[in-house]
């Protein structure tokens, strides 16, 4: 696995919905490369016969009955934090530029 180039960082930023300054791109290329080099030691580990672990306490699907439960959340409290509200709905910018 190679070092992260400027192009790689720009592509990653786009995937992550981030805009980076030239300074940030240079900084992250270097730092991310160092971090990726550090985690590369995992490539040499013998993991023959082992499965990946996603859940550590042995829980599998946790189901409940499909019934409406009132947790007492108030829509007004939730809408208080919304930057732009119109008719109790969240207003966003137009989607096509």
């Amino acid at each position: 696995m190679a070092d992260l180039s400027r192009d790689d960082v720009v592509k990653l930023a786009a995937l992550a919905r981030l805009e980076l300054s030239e300074e940030e791109i240079a900084e992250y290329s270097q730092e991310l490369t160092a971090i990726l080099h550090y985690v590369e030691q995992l490539q040499n580990v013998d993991v023959a016969g082992l499965q990946p672990t996603n859940q550590v306490t042995g829980l599998t699907n946790v189901m409940r009955d499909d019934e409406v439960q009132d947790y007492g959340y108030d829509a007004k409290d939730l809408l208080k934090n919304v930057p732009t509200v119109e008719n109790d709905q969240i207003k966003v910018k137009r989607m096509i530029g």
Partner: protein, 477 residues
């Protein structure tokens, strides 16, 4: 007003219940200690209105002869990634500045149901990403023992607050060591329960496969009582597990006699500061003297735990932080013309450096073409680590080592190299990846700074771990 030390939590609650202490006075004491020590930058905001109102209600209930609960009138401080209804919750990030919690975290709801009173929100590394609070978008908390040093992180504000007597206990979250490391650096007790034992509903998510909630206190008995109140299943967090039928309160003293304690060889070698090693060796000698059976344990995969963590944690961070789009809550960029621009600009201007760094790494390790090599590989090495822990707990009851290879470092010492900062978690991350409970208790000092001793228990053996920790606390004096 001088800053007073707090009594044990159970004693405070008894005092409030029998009328010899007033909840209103306790809240005033906490707020005065916070105000008088603002130089340490431990607290982001106080919640005096809500706290005073709750205190008044509790005092009225006591006067009426009602039983208020096991934490009657006990003030506490929550890390600012816990939602406290009506209070600002920022996770020390600019992107959540001004966010008012629309509901209450389950952990806090349970504490309040027993009469505890949240008085303030503590500083942290933004979104809990860090080991020093230097990644807070607002300020760096100072170590109570030496203000030129960090308190550890990410729950550094919570740990410092407890050691500055701002409240009898504080809440933290531990994703890779964020409760235990600041406990170690400040001389507090920091408890990380078994994964899933405390609900995370209402807590700003970091890495969901390792995030846990736990207390920071002055004593193990206090930590056990707070855990007992918070532990158990919650329909709002489907990863929660059942609580132990016996609960977690430490009623009677336990002996270390005959207990098998494994000293983790990988934690005692290279990179350990000599002064830290001396304290840990001394603790081991005292445990042996008290009758514990101490043996050496080697876990060869342990040195890889940090690499596993720094694949999995950023992966989960990038996923959890994708919800910050600037549209529904949090910071929103004003000048954007389209939705896409608005999302990008809100995230770019709202997130701090470390959040962006982790989002970028996480996006990389999850991206097509690299997923198998990084993410899946890390999850598989995690299995190897889990197997090694399971093998170790067939031989011993508890594992022991330092919490951190060093004492608290200087502010600014590790900020230029993110990898160096990540290495501070080297002794704590493994038990997050495996889900085991772990605790840091004070074990003397090195060059005047606290050293933390870490004890790790088998999964779901939280009560036993707290018992041995209390016994060890007694032996170390």
């Amino acid at each position: 007003m001088p800053v007073l030390a707090w009594q044990p939590i159970a004693a405070i609650a008894r005092g409030v219940q029998d009328g010899s202490l007033k909840a209103a006075d306790l809240v005033a004491q906490a707020l005065a200690a916070i105000d008088g020590q603002s130089d340490f930058a431990a607290i982001i905001a106080t919640t005096p209105g809500r706290a005073s109102q709750r205190a008044a209600e509790i005092d009225v209930r006591v006067a009426k002869g009602e039983q208020v609960g096991r934490l009657a009138g006990v003030p506490f401080i929550a890390k600012d990634n816990f939602l406290v209804f009506g209070a600002e919750t920022t996770a020390a990030s600019n992107i959540l500045r001004g966010f008012t919690a629309p509901y209450l975290a389950t952990a806090i709801e349970k504490l309040e149901a027993e009469g505890a009173i949240c008085v303030a929100k503590a500083n942290l590394d933004a979104f809990a990403h860090g080991s020093s609070t230097e990644n807070s978008d607002f300020m760096t908390t100072k170590n109570p023992h030496d203000p030129t040093r960090v308190p550890g992180g990410s729950s550094g504000g919570s740990a410092a607050a407890v050691m500055l007597n701002m409240a009898p206990f504080a809440l933290g979250t531990d994703t890779g060591g964020s409760i235990r490391l600041p406990a170690s650096f400040t001389g507090a007790v920091g408890y990380k329960p078994t994964y899933g034992l405390v609900s995370r509903s209402g807590i700003v998510a970091m890495a969901s496969s390792t995030d846990v909630v736990g207390p920071l206190t002055r004593t193990v008995a206090d930590a056990a009582l707070v855990l007992d109140v918070m532990a158990g299943q919650d329909s709002l967090d489907s990863t929660t597990i059942a609580r132990d039928a016996e609960g977690y309160v430490l009623d009677e003293a336990t002996d270390v006699r005959g207990k098998k304690i494994g000293v983790v060889a990988e934690y005692m070698g290279e990179g350990l500061q000599p002064g830290v090693k001396t304290q840990i060796d001394e603790a081991i000698a005292k445990l042996k003297q008290a009758g514990a059976e101490v043996i050496d344990v080697s876990m060869p995969t342990l040195p890889l735990a940090l690499a596993v963590y720094y694949v999995l944690c950023p992966a989960e961070v990038s996923s959890n932080l994708s919800r910050y789009d600037g549209q529904r809550y949090g910071f929103t960029a004003k000048e954007a013309k389209t939705l896409d621009e608005s999302i990008k600009q809100s995230r770019s201007q709202g997130f701090g450096k470390e959040a962006k760094r982790r989002i970028m790494i996480g996006t990389y390790v999850l991206s097509s073409g690299y997923y198998d090599a990084y993410y899946k590989r890390a999850q598989t090495v995690r299995t190897k680590l889990i197997n090694e822990f399971a093998e170790a707990f067939e031989k011993v009851d508890f594992l022991l080592g330092p919490t951190s290879p060093t004492v608290a470092f200087k502010i600014g010492e590790n900020t230029s190299d993110p990898l160096q900062m990540y290495l501070t978690d080297i002794m704590t991350v493994a038990s997050n990846l495996t889900g085991n409970p772990a605790i840091s208790i004070p074990a003397g000092t090195s060059e005047g700074l606290p050293v933390g001793l870490q004890l790790i228990g088998a999964q779901k053996a939280d009560k036993q771990l707290l018992q041995i920790a209390q016994a060890t606390e007694g032996i170390l004096g």
